[in-house]
Amino acid sequence: MRSPGQLKSSSSELDLDGPNIEDYLPSGSSIQEPLGKLRLRDLLDISPTLTEAAGAIVDRCLVELICSFFVASWTGVVKYHGPRPSMRPKQVFVANHTSMIDFIILEQMTAFAVIMQKHPGWVGLLQSTILESVGCIWFNRSEAKDREIVARKLRDHVQGTDNNPLLIFPEGTCVNNHYTVMFKKGAFELGCTVCPVAIKYNKIFVDAFWNSRKQSFTMHLLQLMTSWAVVCDVWYLEPQTLRPGETAIEFAERVRDIISVRAGLKKVPWDGYLKYSRPSPKHRERKQQSFAESVLRRLDEK
């Protein structure tokens, strides 16, 4: 029986610090694993695979583009839960990400420094003026060397005693508020305590998720400003530290699990940028291999 080979993630710039997708795929197969002696109906019954395909077609879109900073007056009703961890050095906050208003919502309670993408145009201007005061770390995704510079800045920031606590959105992009995508490990290898924060918007009032392909930012802004109060829940969860023998990726997944469970979000093994490229055939091969192995195994059971 062939053993699964080591699968490497692609070497594109964006994946350099991204988790290896193969680490996260469920080890079982979606294709039904038959038990006992193999019969014709076991081979003909493709219902689980079909259900998965139909589910994919019917469920909402997972990820969209990087969002932008949103500043406007709006009446928001936000419910905060859980004791907020006391501010200590060597501590970072991580949260799931739906829209830039996540930042505003969290900012209301605590002055956070946040790491975000610098945007061109008037939004960038807004970012510079307003966020400069809380101490922000800028990064530019398109700059190759930027990754190391940012990692260094992050490290410096958390070591410093006077700095505002750092807030990081490890998904790296805005995600529709039904799911979480894989967390990038950067936030989890700073040698700090990680305080997870879960944010869930109540869809009845407003869809805060900005689908930038369908709507320009200005339209999104207007819509948010003229809609009902944003209603959401914010949960501050128990601070976590790296467990002995745990890798940064495992740590990231563990925290993502905590946040997803609390906010009732489904976890998916996709990276936030997947929509730009087709998933590698390795995912499909993994499913095929699992089913093939179970068929062969059952053949031996006579």
Partner: protein
């Protein structure tokens, strides 16, 4: 924009497999997928859904679903409704196998689907052997031409579950 009349027409066409709210929800989803607003979802647009693209049966399903307009799209999905009968679900599976649509599923058809599901992890020879053996055990041969009633007989008691929940806001 979907009018009440449209919704009712679609509902008729899919034999009331979905509620009106679910049809509205499916319409939103249809429009989301149909990016260039062509009135149908192209193969490319289906493949942009990652979970669909990695599904081993995606190519087969694409053949069935490529270029459908909304009414046909909903009818296609009706097999996945909890209101669909077992017979409808088995019929759907039969159609997945019967790629040339002539109402008969051959050994080759079944071999093709098995290949999609197992990829390179079983040799072609082993695949043929497995299929021949299980067919034999069920009383068929390599040359048997299966029709829908055969599938109903084989899959009828297997506790088949094909269901998808349409998210309704």
């Amino acid at each position: 924009m979907l009018t009440q009349y449209d919704i009712e027409e679609v509902q008729q066409h899919c034999n009331h497999a979905f509620s009106q709210q679910e049809i509205v929800s499916l319409y939103e989803r249809f429009c989301q997928l149909d990016r260039n607003n062509g009135g149908f979802i192209s193969a490319e647009e289906f493949l942009s859904v990652p979970e669909f693209a990695v599904n081993p049966l995606s190519q087969r399903l694409l053949r069935m679903v490529d270029g459908l307009n909304f009414k046909e799209f909903v009818a296609f999905l009706s097999a996945f409704s909890p209101h669909a009968t077992l017979h409808q679900k088995i019929e759907f599976i039969f159609k997945v196998y019967d790629s040339d649509g002539n109402g008969k599923v051959t050994f080759t058809d079944m071999l093709d689907v098995l290949r999609d599901l197992t990829g390179t992890f079983i040799s072609e020879k082993q695949r043929e052997q497995v299929l021949t053996d299980v067919l034999d055990e069920a009383g068929y041969t390599k040359d048997s031409l299966m029709i829908l009633s055969d599938f109903v007989k084989i899959l009828g008691n297997s506790g088949l579950k094909i269901e998808v929940e349409v998210p309704v806001d």
